[in-house]
Symmetry: C2
Subunit: 222 residues, 2 copies
DNA sequence: GCAAAAGTGTTCCAGATACACCCATGT
DNA sequence: ACATGGGTGTATCTGGAACACTTTTGC
């Protein structure tokens, strides 16, 4: 087990599947690759880990460097290591997924990214490497986690209405939910609390605003 | 051991948390390290990945090389990459967990392992590296997965009684279950089927034997 | 006949589901 | 006044939990 030949050692990258909700659809952040391999193709943001950097820090750094996005919820997804997944050499990638609120985060291209863009998860362009697999795995994890954790609020700004929250669930689960049952359950769980504020939107009754009891935390429920 | 930190690329290892049920307790396979670092200490089986080897194959190979065990259920757990988790240099480890039926698997020490042994998961010796963290993560995953998958049969031989299966659940969940409810649920799920055979054990009624409908497969239920 | 594990049904409760109308606002 | 999304309660269904006795065997 000791002493691997150094030149044989695989390289390590992180790749990040950053989801958001825009235009009532689940969207994924992609970058257009400035360099080979797969130059000009769309790919997930990501890159090589630095020598003394924790993995999650590396993922956060790549997201910041390539897309100018920081401060989002980030969780390790799975590690992809097929020997031929990178045409250059053996590269093992620790995939993360991240969730961003819909508003306020405007990606800007930089570093290895020639451009950035949000793409509907249901209609992605061809992706570099095995990034389509990563997106699929991340979508499954996200949908599963909606059911047993408080992850949904990570898609919303600090204050939100129950209608907003219901849209998150409906979009990710891709089916309509009953409004009364949804509200009953959400309030019963007790992880969000009403503020004294309302939001006046359009020609209709204002919506009561809620906040997460533990913003930033994703708890397992039931 | 006094290897200077020269190489920039982190090294990749896999480590395996192999569980079994013995003496009505959840047990973990450990090896005693033959080499530095942590020489003489107990650790999980594992080691460096080979240049063209898929990650899961590497985990299976290490299990075979160090403990002589093969053919068990193996699933990726999580990747551990704290920069200081290996005192020699940066090493990132992709942890797997594995489940072995109670009978028939006798580990033999070889390779980097000076000895092997089963240890109760509730009473482990001090472990090398961050292997205690890996064991804890694996235990949580295993307990969670009992609830929503058919993973439990991986602990049993091809044919088993409903009593055997119940012991698996009770041991991992660490609480007694109601026999009638347990049987009702297991049979309702429909992932095991009765054979025409019984097992005569002691001074009591013989137990009907069952088999998994899809042995080797772990399905998500409900 | 007795010890020991296998096998078997019903009642009860809690949480999920189905479902329709009034409320507050802007135009 | 009307259009728009916000907000509310009840009846029903279903799956999980609680619970005790008979069966078959070896000694």
């Amino acid at each position: 087990m000791d002493r691997p030949v150094t030149s044989e050692a695989p390289a390590i990258t992180t790749d990040i599947v950053l989801f958001t909700l825009r235009a009532d659809a689940l969207q994924v952040l992609l970058i257009r690759r400035r360099n080979e391999p797969f130059k000009g193709m769309w790919a997930l943001p990501g890159g090589f880990i630095e020598p003394d950097e924790p993995l999650e820090d590396g993922a956060a750094r790549e997201l910041e460097e390539e897309a100018g996005i920081s401060g989002v919820y980030l969780e390790q997804l799975c590690t992809f290591g097929r020997p031929d997944r990178d045409p250059r050499r053996r590269v093992i990638s620790v995939a993360y997924y991240a969730l961003a609120p819909a508003d306020g985060l405007t990606p800007r291209a930089a570093s290895d990214a020639e451009a950035t863009g949000w793409f509907p998860a249901n209609d992605l362009p061809p992706l570099a490497f095995d990034h389509d697999e990563m997106v699929n795995t991340a979508r499954e994890r996200l949908a599963a986690k909606l059911g047993y954790s408080t992850i949904a609020v990570q898609f919303l700004p600090e204050r939100f209405s129950l209608g907003d929250l219901q849209v998150v669930y409906e979009t990710i689960l891709n089916r309509p939910l009953d409004k009364r049952n949804f509200r009953k359950r959400m309030l019963a769980i007790g992880l969000i609390e009403a503020t004294r504020d309302e939001r006046r939107n359009g020609n209709h009754r204002p919506a009561r605003l809620y906040t997460a009891r533990n913003p930033g935390e994703v708890e397992i429920i039931k």
